[in-house]
């Protein structure tokens, strides 16, 4: 259905309406999302801020096709994520989505270059792994195993792996959470780089409010809903941000 629409480019990367997620039942019920409605334009860097437990990861997971919403609607371009089966979600992730997590989630038994190769084997138009690793500044450590790399290096491999398939969207859940500020800044720089060179839409969940300064759009979350959306007109590069 994507192809039928003339103006594909004008369409938002994500759109949600009244998106809710409820965990558990009875007395243990948790409303992780309470009817979230938002729109995320293509090609933007969006930062989600908010206290712990406010539902940021939950939103990210639903938009990333890792989890089902309880009610409401969520669209990726024209495709309704909320109506997809598990197999369709897998295909969606395979074709469009890159993930970066706080704990890197690399395959410990594969070297840096092999971890990137891994996604090339299932992607349509992948980058060369060396190219992807060069983008994150790791072209010197191609043949190291994760156990031989620092946290920042592992995170950059994870980003290289996420971008190697040239994803349409990149989800980063606290990508700098386990890193010191210098390393964290380097990682954010890489993300900005990816956004500029590949034009990928990037969603970053973070605790560090300063990260917001590099975003096109900042979404403030609280108690399962959006408190405020701020469009950032004076975007800074990570190097310029004061931590």
């Amino acid at each position: 259905m994507n192809g039928k629409l003339p103006n594909g480019d004008d369409i938002a990367a994500f759109r949600t309406r009244n998106l809710s997620k409820v965990y558990g039942e009875g007395a243990a019920t948790v409303h992780a999302l309470r009817g979230v409605s938002l729109e995320i334009p293509k090609g933007e860097i969006v930062v989600l801020l908010g206290p712990s437990g406010s539902g940021k990861s939950t939103l990210l997971n639903i938009l990333g096709g890792l989890d089902h919403a309880s009610s409401g609607e969520a669209y990726f371009q024209h495709q309704s994520l909320t109506e997809m089966t598990n197999a369709e979600l897998t295909q969606y992730r395979r074709a469009h989505v890159g993930f970066v997590f706080q704990f890197y989630n690399l395959m410990p038994s594969l070297t840096a270059v092999e971890n990137v190769e891994l996604v090339r084997e299932i992607a349509d138009q992948p980058m060369r792994p060396e190219e992807a690793l060069a983008l994150v500044g790791l072209d010197k450590r191609l043949h190291h195993f994760p156990s031989q790399m620092s946290g920042g290096e592992q995170q950059r491999v994870a980003i290289a792996r996420a971008i190697a398939k040239q994803p349409t969207v990149l989800f980063c859940d606290e990508p700098t959470g386990a890193l010191d500020s210098t390393t964290g800044r380097a990682v954010l720089k890489v993300l900005q780089n990816v956004n500029e060179t590949l034009g990928a839409t990037i969603l970053i969940v973070t605790h560090a409010a300063a990260t917001a300064k590099m975003a096109d759009r900042v979404i403030h979350f609280a108690d399962g809903d959006i408190r405020e959306v701020i469009v950032n007109t004076a975007k800074l590069s990570p190097e310029e941000i004061e931590w």
Binding site: M107, S109, I122
Partner: protein, 788 residues
């Protein structure tokens, strides 16, 4: 009060419940076997004792040709003898209208009035014979049931050549006949062998035994020496033709039940440790995996101030819950299974009563060894808890180190895709762990291969015995040895295609201090219908002088080729012979002693004598042949090979033989348990990696490959190792199953190993499928949230 650690314990148990149950079940099975088998040994021994006691079974049996009644007084005077009973016994044939061949029976006398001093019977139906009613008999219940005879029916019996019709007045069981076979046959068959009890004067008249007896029964005072009494009895009865007094332990039926009990005893010692070893292995894997993945928690607990001992106790408790739970379940299941088996044994041995009783000590033993094994398994792991410093809790999680993982050759590297590399590197990264998994699955393979080899050993024993070794259709036994002329007579019966005579002579073998009561089988020079074959199916050459001993008898006599054996012949003129041992042979069936027929007759100075013949028959004329033979006066009986085979099969499927099915089932369960646990643990260790793959966009199938590839690789490595182990295991198992009556040789064929391999592969497939379901259901979000 529930401490936080105990709460963690409960949660951990719940989390690993399927594995905990599987391991608990393996422990339970081990304890079940322990309790059941010890209980059965106890029960059978006690029941046998009570049964013998209640019906006053003799301690010594002294068969004789014909001794006058007053000799009993002399026997009673032997020091150590408590009571004496003389009786008349005779071979008889029963003619049933619906059966073609005459059925063999043993007629035994009972006093005309009152019950016998020794060897009383247990009357189950009808009444005893009335004094003076010479045509009344009591029939063995087993036979009566098999032939649907009841009190009031009449029975045509040939005794000593004379045909008579009796009326059945009662049915009885006797502790003398748990297991009743016609002389010369191996396997018991209720429908083909009968015992009839007849009034003493009637039976004496039939066998010319007035004022005489041909078997003396003796009971011993406590502490009396068996050898002294049998020797004294032999001396007293010598001039009347003693056939050799023997103790209860050599009585056929008693020996049979003793073998059963011994078999159970051996299994009770050998089988439970197997289970507990498997359980220990599984516990070790599960606990080591758990401790490894909870390193940080352990560090944290230690940082809080918990001592190493407290933390270790926590994990030990988990193991103990599984061990104790398993043991208690095993005890309960063992009692239930034992009760069931006891009932089976009751009908199998025809006990009038049975009470399944387990010595409570067995419960404690079961509980203690379960706890002991489980603790031993976990102690190895707990050591690592002591070595752990609290600092690990503070460090960020480190990915497992693959730096020294298998270095694949460059060329190979390029061909392999990443998932395959993951499989290979993981399998070879921790050789110890892989060794454990391979060992586990190889043990499963060994169990399956071993059991299947032994199972087909059973089939082969049957096949060889009844179609290779014995190629006749029927075996005719004469009432006494006859000249070869009678063979010509048999050969002339229309429908008889071939006749091959043989002579079997009852003897006592003596060699030094050792002796054995048995018989010699004299076979013709180039036998075609019944051949002496060794375990590799080669004919055993029979020498013109000298005897060939089967291995069990050579062992009893401690005799080797070249040794001279004294043979005390128990029939005819009863000569005492000195004969060299020509060879010792591994035979398949029974414990025979062979000799050339001509040589045997030469030693006995009775040329041309035979005691029976093997026949090959024309199938179409079978019935006429049976009828003709039925009417020959010198024929004591005819047994058809088909019948013998069926009863043999029945015998091997009951009692201890039936255990092989249980063992095979257990082998299957254990194989599956090991394979499934290996797969589960591999899954648990990789859950996070697998979830990551799914997040990246790998499909369920692609993700499963990474895990199942590993399982496949380990299984493939394990199969040949298991096959080799299975070879040795089968030797041990078949040794356990072999008895005096039949020897089981494991059979190794590619088919057997193929089936065993398929069984293991099937277990792997099912385990793989179960784990695959877990992969499919993996909760991506929570799998990624948790660190390890």
């Amino acid at each position: 009060m529930v401490t936080p650690l105990n709460q963690k314990l409960v949660r951990d148990l719940w989390r690993i419940k399927s594995q905990a149950i599987a391991i608990g079940l393996v422990i339970a099975l081990g304890v079940l076997m322990l309790v059941m088998m010890h209980g059965l040994v106890n029960t059978l021994e006690e029941t046998r004792l009570a049964y013998y006691d209640r019906y006053r079974l003799a301690d010594v049996f002294a068969p004789v040709n014909r001794a006058p009644t007053h000799t009993l007084k002399e026997l009673a005077a032997i020091p150590g003898v408590a009571a004496v009973q003389g009786r008349v016994m005779g071979e008889a044939l029963i003619d049933l209208p619906e059966v073609n061949v005459p059925l063999r029976a043993r007629a035994i006398s009972l006093p005309d009035t009152g019950s016998p001093t020794l060897n009383d019977i247990f009357l189950t139906d009808g009444r005893m014979m009335l004094a003076g009613h010479v045509d009344e008999i009591i029939l063995l219940k087993g036979f009566a049931e098999a032939r649907q005879l009841t009190p009031g029916d009449s029975l045509t019996v040939t005794m000593n050549g004379a045909r008579r019709t009796f009326s059945i007045v009662g049915l009885a069981q006797s502790p003398e006949f748990f297991y009743s076979t016609a002389p010369g046959e191996l396997a018991a068959d209720d429908s083909r062998f009968a015992v009839i009890w007849v009034g003493e004067s009637a039976l004496a008249a039939a066998y010319d035994m007035e004022g005489a007896f041909n078997e003396a029964l003796l009971s011993l005072e406590p502490g009396a020496g068996l050898a002294a009494v049998t020797n004294a009895a032999d001396k007293i009865l010598y001039k009347f033709g003693s056939l050799g007094a023997y103790g209860l332990e050599n009585q056929l039926s008693n020996r049979f039940i003793s073998e059963e009990i011994d078999g159970l005893k051996a299994s009770a010692v050998g089988v439970p440790p197997l289970f507990l070893a498997v359980a220990a292995f599984l516990l070790y894997i599960v606990i080591s995996r758990m401790v490894q993945s909870e390193r940080e928690q352990i560090g944290l607990l230690k940082a809080f101030g918990y001592s190493s001992a407290e933390v270790s106790t926590h994990y030990l408790k988990l193991v103990l819950v599984i061990a104790i739970g398993g043991a208690l379940a095993g005890i309960a299941m063992g009692i239930a299974a034992g009760r069931g088996m006891a009932e089976l044994y009751q009908s199998y041995f025809k006990f009038p009563f049975i009470v399944f009783e387990v010595d409570p000590v067995t419960f404690y033993v079961g509980l203690l060894i379960s706890i002991g094994t489980a603790t031993a398994a976990s102690l190895l792991v707990l050591r690592s808890i002591f070595l752990l410093t609290p600092a690990v809790a503070m460090r960020p999680p480190l990915p497992p180190d693959y730096r020294n993982a298998l270095k694949l050759p460059e060329r190979f590297q390029r061909i392999l895709d990443q998932p395959s590399k993951m499989v290979l590197r993981r399998v070879f990264r921790q050789p110890g762990r892989m060794f454990a998994a391979v060992t586990g699955i190889a043990c499963g393979m060994a169990l399956s291969a071993g059991m299947i080899s032994v199972m087909s050993g059973f089939d082969r024993a049957l096949d060889v015995s009844f179609s290779v070794l014995d190629r006749s259709d029927a075996n005719v036994v004469f009432t006494h040895s006859l000249t070869q002329k009678s063979i010509i007579e048999l050969a002339q019966v229309p429908g008889v295609i071939a006749v091959e005579p043989y002579r079997s002579v009852p003897v006592i073998f003596r060699h030094g201090r050792h002796h054995y009561q048995g018989g010699i089988e004299g076979l013709v020079d180039n036998p075609r219908l019944y051949r002496a074959l060794d375990t590799s199916l080669q004919p055993i050459p029979l020498m013109p002088n000298g005897i060939v001993l089967s291995k069990p008898i050579a062992d009893i006599l401690q005799a080797a080729p070249g040794d001279w054996i004294t043979i005390d012949v128990r029939e005819g003129r009863r000569p005492l012979l000195q004969v060299p041992v020509a060879a010792v042979a591994n035979t398949l069936l029974g414990s025979p002693v062979y000799m050339q027929l001509s040589a045997l007759n030469h030693y006995l100075k009775e040329p041309e004598q035979v005691s029976g013949a093997f026949l090959r028959l024309d199938t179409a004329q079978r019935d006429q042949v049976y009828r003709a033979i039925k009417n020959m006066p010198a024929v004591a009986g005819i047994s058809l090979k088909l019948d013998s085979r069926i009863s043999f099969e029945k015998m091997m499927d009951q009692g201890a033989g039936a255990m092989r099915y249980i063992m095979a089932l257990i082998a299957g369960v254990i194989t599956f348990g090991i394979v499934f646990n290996s797969a589960r643990i591999a899954y648990a260790e990789r859950e996070r990696d697998l979830a990551s793959l799914r997040v990246i966009g790998f499909t369920k199938g692609e993700t499963a490959f990474v895990l199942l590839g590993e399982l496949t690789l380990v299984t493939l490595i394990a199969l040949p190792i298991g096959a080799a182990l299975g070879y040795y295991l089968s030797l041990a198992i078949s040794e356990g199953f072999s008895t005096d009556i039949y020897q089981i040789q494991p059979v190794y064929t590619s088919e057997n190993y193929g089936i065993a391999g398929l069984a293991v592969i099937f277990a792997s497939l099912v385990s793989g499928w179960l784990v695959k379901r877990d992969i499919d259901r993996i909760d991506l979000v929570s799998a990624l949230k948790s660190k390890e």
